[in-house]
């Protein structure tokens, strides 16, 4: 019998998403439980991602489970030339669940086919990072009380941003309207806009955040990276246009919240941090509850 893995957010039905989010709320009320006693979880990080790894490890530890793994492929057998296939087959013998981050796209799906224990994709290159999407959904649900009829404003690198693409696909399951704020070079790719159009969902594109910030329920900030620009001059021109400042929040909706997948560099000014609309650090905490919910669901414990 094949166990259930979470590789892509599309692996979950809307019903399953809601169930996991409900479960995350339970874990938020009662985060320390002994349901993983005797279970071992592998965290295989073929590339470093401290935040994601610590969040998973915290989730497992609070549930009484143990964690083994590596934090960077340079100190694992990968440097000796072992294939992913062999690594997964081996680790599979030692653990009850595998959390994996890998720079190669599709590696998580491949691992899930090899492993007999559940695999959670903690990021496979530019492809998928479903637990990030789940914690984003949880943060939206928690702050807005619903996932329906919201206006979401995505800001920054919308062309290459994996998190915004996954969140867009996930939120398109509900009646959501989108604002896309990005420099010309980093606009939302056509395939996503077409996807929304076919679903009859509304979107609006602009290069100016001030134009739309007052009508939105969620501002989802992402980092505009210098290396994404073919012309360095273009980067210099736009780099400060997508920085959120405290004074831009004055006329925004009272319940509006600012999310960011983190790490932040300079795209949210630190003077925003003390504003009650800043939610990015709580969002990171929500990641622990969401991952507890996902792990216990995949192991059939809840």
């Amino acid at each position: 019998m094949k166990t259930r893995s979470l590789v892509s957010i599309d692996d979950l039905t809307t019903e399953e998403i809601i169930k996991i989010l409900d479960l995350a709320a339970e874990f938020e009320k009662n985060p320390v439980q002994d349901i993983l006693r005797g279970k071992v979880v592998a965290t295989l990080f073929f590339e470093p991602s401290t935040r994601t790894r610590l969040s998973f490890e915290s989730a497992v530890n609070k549930l009484g489970g143990k964690v083994i793994g590596f934090t960077d492929s340079s100190n694992s057998s990968v440097t000796k030339g072992e294939t992913l296939n062999d690594t997964i087959r081996t680790v599979n013998n030692y653990v009850d669940l595998i959390v994996m981050r890998h720079p190669i796209e599709g590696s998580a799906r491949y691992a899930s086919e090899i492993a007999t224990v559940p695999v959670i994709n903690a990021g496979d290159g530019a492809n998928q990072h479903p637990t990030q999407t789940m914690l984003d959904l949880y943060s939206i649900l928690k702050t807005q009380g619903t996932l329906d009829n919201l206006n979401i404003c995505m800001v920054g690198d919308l062309k290459y941003g994996r998190t915004v693409h996954s969140l867009l696909m996930a939120m398109s399951r509900w009646k959501t309207s989108f604002n896309f704020v990005a420099p010309e070079e980093l606009m939302m790719p056509d395939e996503y806009k077409l996807y929304l159009k076919n679903l009859g969902l509304e979107y609006y594109e602009t290069i100016d955040l001030n134009e739309v910030i007052n009508m939105t329920d969620i501002v989802y900030m992402t980092r505009v990276q210098r290396e994404r620009f073919s012309d360095p001059m273009e980067y210099e021109k736009v780099k400060n246009a997508y920085v959120l400042q405290e004074n831009m929040l004055a006329e925004t909706k009272p319940g509006m919240k600012i999310l960011h997948p983190l790490p932040r560099v300079n795209e949210i000014s630190t003077d925003v941090d003390s504003n009650n609309k800043a939610y990015y650090f709580e969002q990171a905490l929500n990641g622990v509850y969401t991952r507890q919910a996902i792990i216990s669901t995949l192991l059939g414990l809840k």
């Binding site: 296939n85 720079p103 190669i104 796209e105 599709g106 491949y110 492809n127």
Partner: protein, 155 residues
Amino acid sequence: MKNINDKKQLLVSAIESGTVIDHIPAATLFKVIKILGLDKIKNQITFGTNLDSKTDGKKAIIKIAGKFFEDDDINRIALVAPNAKLNIIQDYKVTEKRVVEVPDTIIAIAKCMNPKCITNFEKVTTRFRVVSKKPVALKCQYCEKITDQERLEII
């Protein structure tokens, strides 16, 4: 030389029974041979290529004696020869005509165009879901990127 393309004159000799695959683009003849594994079977095979065709420019034709294909097998060539026509021959006569159709899933035939895809790093059998049949667009089961007709490469 003038009558070389005369319809009446057979450039590739007739077979008594078996399958004739016509209207293969000349450029993909050897891919068709590879996909169907014709280079590994003992049947008598004759083929012609760079033949003039009214509809396809330069075409190729393959005649395989004593061989009949299942739909699932023959549809595998649809990626490289979408307009191929099959004539099933019994006793020198065409007893059935068939066309090919792009299947819903493509396994172990195409290469994923994404250089960062796991299938281009390890020995993974490629698997695609066909998201569009004309023009062909394939979604990789692993990296989830789309390989379109222009970037399609046969393994």
